[in-house]
């Protein structure tokens, strides 16, 4: 059953009021977000290019939204003049020498105009000011750098490909090291030799150790040599005496040489006079002959009857002794 006409009218009125309230809410929200109800100052900035900036995009100062882009128009030299509407509330903090650049509110976000820098001593922003332009790193520049990196990467991988190809083919020192069996054997032999050398060194070290221990053993010659000052003194004295003896021997040899050089001295006569040498030789021959003759005489004496009994008796005793030994 339908309500009374008056009730219907009231409900329809409420419903319409609610709809108007929603509409007003939406308008106010948009107005609040777009700062439609705040006073603005209008400034301009001339950019070489604006990277897709459009009317209504935000203006940021120190990361805070302070206005919007009002309009854009080309200038004669293909530059773009951007008209910015900045909240009057923010202008006491923005100075005339502030720089403007086109940025982005995220990696894939909307374009924004970023106001930055500015010196505190400069006057604050006013209506009609023309802002200076800061350096912008555009996506194209980032892409260009990335492209350059890609080329370098390509070069590096190409070189690596060549190197790894050579390695696989066994070219070059490292390639041979990887693939050549003889090189491996050689290295193995070298290692074995080094191992042997190491063993020898070990043995030597051991010997040195033993020697060192002996060196430390008291009473031994090396220890005495190293530690006993008396022995060292004796040795020094001996060496000194040897030195003296050598000097004397040298002096004697010098004297002998002088003697040999003098033909009138006995030594000089022996060594230098040929006639004296011949006499000496004759004397020696005569002596030798005399000895032979004496030997014959003694043989004959053994067979003399006076001495024969003695020799026979000695032979018998010798024969008897040999028999007893058997």
């Amino acid at each position: 059953m339908n309500p009374s006409p008056n009730r219907q009218a009231a409900v329809v009125g409420l419903f319409t009021a609610a709809a108007i309230a929603i509409l007003a809410g939406a308008v106010l929200t948009i107005g609040d977000i777009n700062d439609s109800f705040t006073r603005k100052v209008t400034v301009t900035a001339v950019f070489d290019e604006v990277s897709g900036l459009k009317k209504g995009d935000n203006i940021w100062f120190s990361g805070v939204k302070v206005g919007t882009v009002k309009s854009m128009r080309f200038q004669e030299d293909s530059k773009v003049e951007v008209v910015l509407r900045v909240d009057r509330e923010a202008t006491p903090f923005i100075h005339k020498d502030v720089l403007a650049k086109v940025g982005s509110d995220g990696l894939i976000g909307n374009r924004i105009v970023v106001l930055y820098a500015g010196t505190p001593t400069a006057p604050t922003l006013e209506d009609g000011d023309v802002l200076s332009i800061g350096k912008t790193v555009s996506t194209e520049e980032i892409m260009a750098t990335l492209q350059e990196n890609n080329k370098n990467l390509l070069g590096i991988t190409s070189d690596l490909k060549v190197v790894s190809g050579k390695l696989a083919a066994g070219e070059g020192t490292i390639g041979k090291l990887l693939t050549d069996e003889s090189l491996y054997a050689s290295v193995n032999d070298t290692a074995a030799t080094l191992n042997g050398a190491s063993d020898n060194a070990k043995t030597m070290t051991s010997s040195l150790s033993t020697f060192a221990s002996k060196l430390n053993e008291k009473g031994s010659l090396p220890n005495d040599l190293v530690t006993d000052k008396t022995t060292y003194a004796s040795l020094t004295a001996t060496v000194s005496e040897l030195h003296e003896t050598g000097a004397r021997a040298s002096e004697l040899v010098g004297t002998l040489a002088a003697g040999a050089a003098n033909p009138n001295s006995p030594v000089g006569a022996m060594m230098g006079d040929g006639a004296a040498g011949g006499d000496l030789k004759q004397t020696l021959e005569n002596l030798n002959r005399g000895t032979v003759l004496l030997n014959e005489d003694l043989e004959a004496a053994q067979h003399n009857f006076l001495l024969r009994g003695f020799f026979k008796k000695r032979d018998k005793e010798a024969a008897q002794k040999a028999k007893d030994d058997k």
Binding site: P3, Q8, V12, F15, I22, A26, I33, G56
Partner: protein, 256 residues
């Protein structure tokens, strides 16, 4: 027959429709104004459609958010959900959903009501009673749909955004203020103006087509069914055509 039966029939239908609209415009500004009937129709169109619009708007908001989430989450942009949903709902979904629901509920109602009045000769009876049936029936109903559909659209958008907020809050713990602030950051006055205008056009379309079909119903009770059916189908069809045209106009306006 001028060209062919089909073409002739189409031309006559266009003429009759144009005459009907012309008559509506003429009689809209003529006295008397049946204010009480207008309120009654506004109540029927607006208030009685509220539950259906609430449910549809809420479901649209929450489902659209849920379905959009994976696509945005794929590149870590779920923080863009409020803007996306607000743009989608305010610019397109809310006007369209409201218009289609009203075309189904209100259009069929008007078509069947006027159709049955026509076939039972109640309209002729009104004429006899010195009441302008066009003024009383058609103008009041068409004005009611024209006024109420924009109101329902705003309500649908609000409920849809609340549904979306529930989902976003459940996932990202976003506050209501932040949700609306982010959502409306990409909305302009033009969007609101366009949506409201669109809804006025859709409301008028639903009212005028349903009244036309009902007012010109014939062939007894079968004609009533046909009138109700044709009201809904033709209203929806024309709504989509208008949506397409209005979007083009708005995008053209956006360039200024």
């Amino acid at each position: 027959m001028v060209i062919s039966p089909g073409v002739d029939a189409f031309a006559i239908a266009v003429y009759e429709s144009a005459s009907f609209v012309k008559r509506f415009v003429v009689e809209l500004f003529q006295r008397p104004i049946h204010f009480r009937e207008l309120i009654k129709q506004c109540y029927a169109v607006g208030v009685l459609s509220l539950p259906l619009i609430t449910l549809t708007g809420f479901v649209t908001g929450i489902v659209f958010t849920k379905q959009s989430r994976p696509s945005l989450a794929a590149f870590g942009a779920t923080s863009w959900l409020p803007s996306l949903i607000t743009v989608a709902l305010l610019r397109s979904l809310a006007p369209l959903v409201t218009a289609l629901i009203c075309a189904g509920k209100v259009g069929s109602n008007i078509g069947a009501e006027l159709g049955s009045m026509k076939v039972t000769e109640q309209i002729e009876a009104m004429e006899v009673s010195a009441i302008n049936p066009f003024k009383f029936l058609v103008v009041s109903r068409t004005v009611a749909t024209t006024l109420m559909v924009p109101a329902l659209m705003l309500y649908c958008c609000c409920v849809g955004l609340m549904g979306s907020f529930l989902n976003v809050h459940g996932n990202e713990a976003t506050s209501l203020a932040s949700f609306f602030k982010t959502g409306f950051s990409t909305i302009t006055y033009l969007d609101v103006f366009a949506s409201v205008t669109k809804s006025f056009v859709f409301g008028f379309t639903i009212g005028i087509i349903s009244c036309f079909k009902g007012y010109n119903a014939s062939s007894g009770t079968q004609g009533v069914g046909r009138a109700a059916n044709a009201s809904v189908v033709l209203s929806m069809f024309v709504i989509f055509i208008e949506e397409m045209l209005i979007v083009q106009i708005i995008n053209w306006l956006r360039g200024f």
